[in-house]
């Protein structure tokens, strides 16, 4: 009996995740220094965990409003106003979701008609392209380049644009490249979005982890709030990846549309995660800044080492990813990553796991201890030297 015949065609056609394949290999090896874990190495600060424990003690185990606890939505509204200069009404412009992943999924399900074109900059987070495919949209990747430090430029957007383009997906700062856009670059993108009447979905999950300059949200620019869905969460800034809690903010009709999907598929995000999220927003700023300072130092260390080793790497202004070029090794990114893993037991994810534009690059996550970063870079150095001596 061939049970696979029951699987929907568009799911069969979904390519296997490049990360998953790499993970299968790494998980079978011992004593690997992994620079491939896209989450903070910190545990969630205790006071946030304790808030969830307290909520359990108080018997908070029931469904919440589909939109999320009103106290959390109020806290989100204040937080976004203060840190992003955008005003959203807690009552009908904010939706609490099961991670930004769910927010993205329901946004696409609420907005994408079959055949609608969705633009997104690439290399990008692994779920964007599949999310478009799953909703029967058409993915329109827009390349970003090392020469621009992987910022998205209006020129690249214009070159990639196609008639029928409906949505522009942004992730700034970007996983995997660490690229982000300054105000002027965002203004150019906003101008383009308005010209072409694009709806912007902006995933700003790494925004707090901006090390130099200001983080600007495109939704805060004139004329953009009415055509932007702002996505954010707690996973990276507050080390709450496993809690699965995030939020979407946007014009009430769009939030309502997303809520229609959410109410049937999820009902509501976990009440414990929501309670913990309130604590994070009210009292988590100090802890977040401490973590950010450490990421900053780690970034400086690993990027300097990559460049010393010969793996040209731009200094990412945000996120906790470095995206070095492996060109000097003479190998492609997959062979390099596998060779490094086998020879020196260091895991970096090949850039093509994040889209075709990732060719020639690997992603290194520096959310790990200094001693690990120092040891990993020494091992990569040895590996590079072994390659050059072979030639």
């Amino acid at each position: 009996m061939d049970t696979k015949r029951y699987i929907a065609k568009h799911v069969i056609d979904l390519p296997r995740s490049g990360i998953r394949d790499f993970f299968e290999i790494v998980s079978k090896m011992k004593d690997v220094i992994s620079l491939g874990i896209g989450e903070p190495d910190f545990d969630t600060p205790w006071h946030i965990r304790e808030a969830a424990i307290y909520a359990l003690e108080k018997g908070k185990t029931h469904y919440t409003s589909n939109l999320g606890l009103i106290e959390l939505r109020r806290a989100i509204s204040r937080y976004v106003e203060k840190n992003f200069s955008i005003s959203y009404r807690p009552e009908d412009e904010i939706l609490v979701t099961v991670g930004v992943s769910e927010a993205l999924d329901i946004a696409f399900r609420a907005l994408v008609n079959p055949g609608d074109k969705v633009m997104f900059h690439q290399p990008c987070y692994v779920s964007y392209h599949p999310s478009v495919t799953l909703t029967h949209g058409v993915a329109v990747p827009v390349p970003t380049f090392a020469k621009d430090n992987f910022a998205l430029t209006a020129e690249a957007l214009a070159a990639a644009w196609q008639p029928g383009a409906k949505i522009l997906m942004l992730n700034l700062p970007c996983n995997p490249t660490g690229g982000t856009c300054n105000r002027a670059q965002l203004e150019a993108i906003a101008k383009f979005a308005v010209e072409k009447d694009l709806l912007v979905i902006s995933d700003e999950i790494y925004s707090e982890l901006t090390f130099e300059g200001e983080h600007v949200s495109i939704a805060s620019l004139p004329g953009m709030q009415e055509r932007t869905i702002f996505l954010h969460g707690f996973s990276k800034a507050f080390a709450m990846t496993g809690w699965r809690i995030g939020y979407a903010c946007g014009p009430a009709p769009l939030i309502e549309a997303m809520m229609k999907v959410h109410q049937y598929s999820m009902m509501c995000a976990s009440i414990l995660s929501q309670e913990a999220a309130i604590e994070a927003l009210l009292r988590g700023e100090e802890g977040m800044k401490t973590m950010r300072e450490q990421y900053h130092r780690r970034r400086d260390l690993i990027v300097r080492r990559f460049n010393e080793i010969g793996l040209k790497c731009h200094l990412p202004r945000g996120s906790f990813y470095a995206f070095p070029s492996v060109e000097k090794s003479g190998m492609n990114e997959k062979d390099f990553a596998l060779g490094l893993l086998q020879a020196e037991r260091v895991a970096m994810v090949p850039g093509t796991a994040f889209g075709a534009n990732g060719a020639g690059f690997c992603r290194a996550c520096f959310a790990t201890g200094y001693d690990q970063l120092i040891e990993a870079s020494d091992r990569i150095d040895r590996y590079m030297q072994s390659l050059t001596s072979k030639r």
Partner: protein, 160 residues
């Protein structure tokens, strides 16, 4: 706060060579800065943080609330300094509230600590009263939890 101090406070137990790598300084420069911090009395010294919960460790600790008479021209300083110099005194703090000095004391037995309080501490001219509290059990020492079993790192090795 100097970058070196910030790095030390992160508690990663890095070698000076590793600190140099992180801060992009030579190891010699790290050592030079550490020496300067010691000279400036910003960095006072190093002590290991130990779990002395084992009964065989032979350490009894107490916290003593001391009320003293402040002096003209010196306040509490002269007396606090004199008390602090005792070998038994681990820490000595001037506090707000119902007493003046909070003194952390260690000794090899309850009798030894009691003797220190009654014979050495209480007898100092200017000490009005003492209230001694013996430590029964420690849960956290200088930022380290005691009762934590080393958990296996169960993070995924690769994650998007």
């Amino acid at each position: 706060m100097s970058p070196i101090i910030k790095l030390l406070l992160e508690g990663g137990s890095l070698t000076t060579a590793q600190m140099g790598q992180v801060l992009n300084l030579s190891e010699a420069e790290v050592n030079r800065q550490l020496d300067q911090l010691k000279k400036d009395r910003v960095l006072l010294g190093w002590r290991p943080v130990l779990n002395l919960a084992d009964e065989d460790a032979g350490v009894v600790r107490a916290v003593i609330e001391v009320r003293i008479t402040p002096e003209r021209g010196g306040g509490f300083n002269r007396l606090a300094d004199r008390i602090s110099r005792f070998e038994e005194v681990e820490s000595c703090f001037l506090m707000s509230g119902g007493y003046d000095l909070l003194v952390f004391v260690g000794g090899s037995s309850l009798q030894k600590v009691a003797a220190f309080v009654s014979e050495k501490l209480s007898t100092i001219e200017g000490v009005l009263s003492t209230a001694t509290h013996f430590l029964l059990r420690s849960y956290k020492e200088q930022g380290f939890l005691l009762d934590v079993k080393a958990e296996e790192n169960n993070r995924l090795k690769v994650a998007p």
